[in-house]
């Protein structure tokens, strides 16, 4: 009734009220129905696991053991994404550089890394690099082999960082190029050098464009970090697979580890949304 009065006060005819209510209800119904349908689907998923006779007791027993692998997973992912960010910024600056050597290096980096499987790259860092060290040692670089023989975790971090750095190079480059030319001109007109304009004006704006795709890459990387298990690191999936095989209950273990990854990614996605909201300050009000 209150709503009706205030609407009447604003001079909106009463027959419009019905339409407004209907539009409102449609929007509300959609969000309610969406929640219901998601809940039903998750329920079905869990239900089907029960019907299949999953051994939940077994899963509970090993949950702690598997979760201890979380540390490795997070260590590898966080280190790798940090390095990848650095590589991708350097790569993007190279790709945009007018210096033929820098530009060539960046172009080759992106092309080579994106054109080869991550699996091969992981083994490259772990198994092939020591061999390169050996060859170099024979060529007279004494003592180099021990620096090129990486333990499993550093090798995994490097493989992921270099690979994701290459993909993200293109993301960062596109982000930088999406900033209107007028911004660069305004910075130049103030007397800024190219570097100052990039640091103060272009890059902070590009960052806002880059954050969503980079978060996306990070989420993908958390899952690809399971590749370090190939080198015998006892991270999440490695533990799950081991236990599953030992007790012939792979389904339970795989479902369990999949759920752990899923929860992690949901958390990361929430963080991403927070960051995006924070970065959007200054854009606020542009459309209203």
């Amino acid at each position: 009734m209150d709503q009706l009065n205030s609407v009447a006060e604003r001079g909106i005819p009463s027959e419009a009220l019905e339409v407004m209510k209907r539009i409102d209800a449609r929007r509300r119904n959609f969000s309610i129905n969406l929640k219901i349908s998601l809940a039903v689907m998750v329920g079905l998923l869990i239900g089907s696991l029960v019907v299949l006779g999953l051994d939940f007791k077994f899963m509970g027993k090993w949950l702690g053991f598997i979760l201890t692998g979380l540390g490795f997973t997070l260590l590898v992912s966080v280190c790798a994404i940090s390095l990848a960010c650095i590589f991708s910024v350097l790569g993007a600056l190279g790709r945009l550089s007018r210096n033929p050597i820098l530009n060539g290096m960046a172009t080759l980096y992106v092309s080579l890394i994106r054109g080869t499987p991550l699996l091969v790259q992981v083994y490259m860092w772990y198994l092939a690099l020591p061999q390169i060290g050996g060859a170099l040692q024979n060529l007279g670089f004494t003592g180099i082999q021990k620096y090129l023989t990486l333990p499993a975790i550093p090798a995994g971090i490097m493989a992921l960082a270099v690979c994701y750095g290459a993909y993200m190079t293109e993301t960062v480059r596109a982000g930088i190029q999406s900033i209107k030319i007028g911004q660069n001109e305004a910075a130049k007109a103030l007397g800024m050098t190219d570097g100052q304009a990039m640091r103060r004006v272009i890059f902070p704006q590009a960052l806002r464009v880059i954050i969503p795709p980079v978060s996306n890459e990070f989420i993908a990387m958390v899952k690809d970090s399971s590749l370090v298990s190939l080198m015998g690191v006892w991270e999440l999936s490695f533990r799950a697979i081991k236990i599953g095989r030992r007790y012939f209950q792979s389904l339970e273990m795989l479902v369990l580890v999949a759920m752990i990854y899923w929860v992690m990614c949901i958390i990361l996605q929430t963080i991403q949304e927070r960051i995006e909201k924070h970065m959007a300050r200054g854009e606020r009000g542009e459309h209203g």
């Binding site: 209107k180 305004a186 007109a189 800024m192 200054g282």
Partner: protein
């Protein structure tokens, strides 16, 4: 150099885009300290390009440009070429048609950006003068707003304050009111007019008739990459000599 009061000296300036788009065809221009010059001309005649060549946002193809004693010859390969360009840019302020405020910074942060990043002042040093400038353009109350929250006219006034924070010797205006709703044009022209009254040397590309007629001391008409004629506004608007000027003025008046 300083006794002839020449603020800007341009000789035989050419700009060619690509292979054959000859936008500026041998421009000469002398602007004295304190002069207010308006450049008029049909679209595509090269007005903006000329303005953008003065602070080297466009690299001229031939000719020399001298701003407040710093002379650069197009295509010269001297080691201090880049340094001289920065020097000229510090001496010139520029306002753009699209304002080009930095959207990730508040109004005050936009205004101190030049002094802090380019001149190396601390924020503390830069803020009092920046506040003074915001007050001078009538936007003290918008100090902490982001550009997206400001109207076009307000944005352009912040942009003017941002340029002035560098204490430029000359201001270049590249169609500063063309992107504005008609009712917002006045507030920007008003600021430009006060700037002229305070003795700033100004070159403006604008079709804002009040500014051209009543504020500027000389009006240049350009077409096809060169001047058609120039003179005091009274003369140019009431009694243009060239036929092409007459035709152009008949269109815009």
């Amino acid at each position: 150099m300083s006794d002839d009061k020449g603020m800007i000296k341009i000789r035989n300036l050419h700009k060619v885009f690509g292979r054959d788009l000859h936008v500026l065809a041998g421009i000469d221009l002398d602007v004295h300290t304190g002069e207010v010059v308006t450049i008029l001309g049909p679209s595509g005649s090269g007005k903006s390009t000329l303005l953008r060549c003065i602070n080297f946002l466009e690299e001229p193809t031939a000719g020399t440009i001298e701003v407040d004693g710093v002379a650069i010859k197009a295509g010269e390969k001297s080691s201090d070429h880049a340094a001289k360009i920065l020097d000229i840019r510090k001496k010139t302020g520029m306002c753009f048609q699209a304002f080009n405020l930095f959207p990730h910074m508040t109004a005050i942060a936009n205004v101190i950006e030049g002094p802090v990043t380019v001149l190396g002042q601390s924020k503390k040093e830069a803020i009092p003068y920046a506040e003074e400038l915001l007050e001078w353009v009538g936007l003290s109350d918008k100090r902490d707003e982001y550009p997206a929250r400001l109207s076009g006219g307000q944005q352009q006034r912040v942009a003017i304050a941002r340029s002035l924070a560098m204490k430029p010797k000359i201001m270049l205006f590249d169609e500063p009111t063309s992107a504005l709703d008609p009712e917002l044009v006045g507030e920007v022209v008003d600021v430009m007019e006060r700037l002229a009254e305070e003795g700033m040397t100004i070159i403006a590309v604008t079709h804002e008739m009040h500014f051209a007629r009543d504020v500027s001391t000389r009006v240049f008409i350009m077409d096809g990459g060169n001047w058609i004629e120039n003179g005091p506004p009274g003369e140019i608007f009431t009694n243009p000599k060239e036929k092409r000027s007459q035709q152009f003025l008949a269109h815009i008046l």
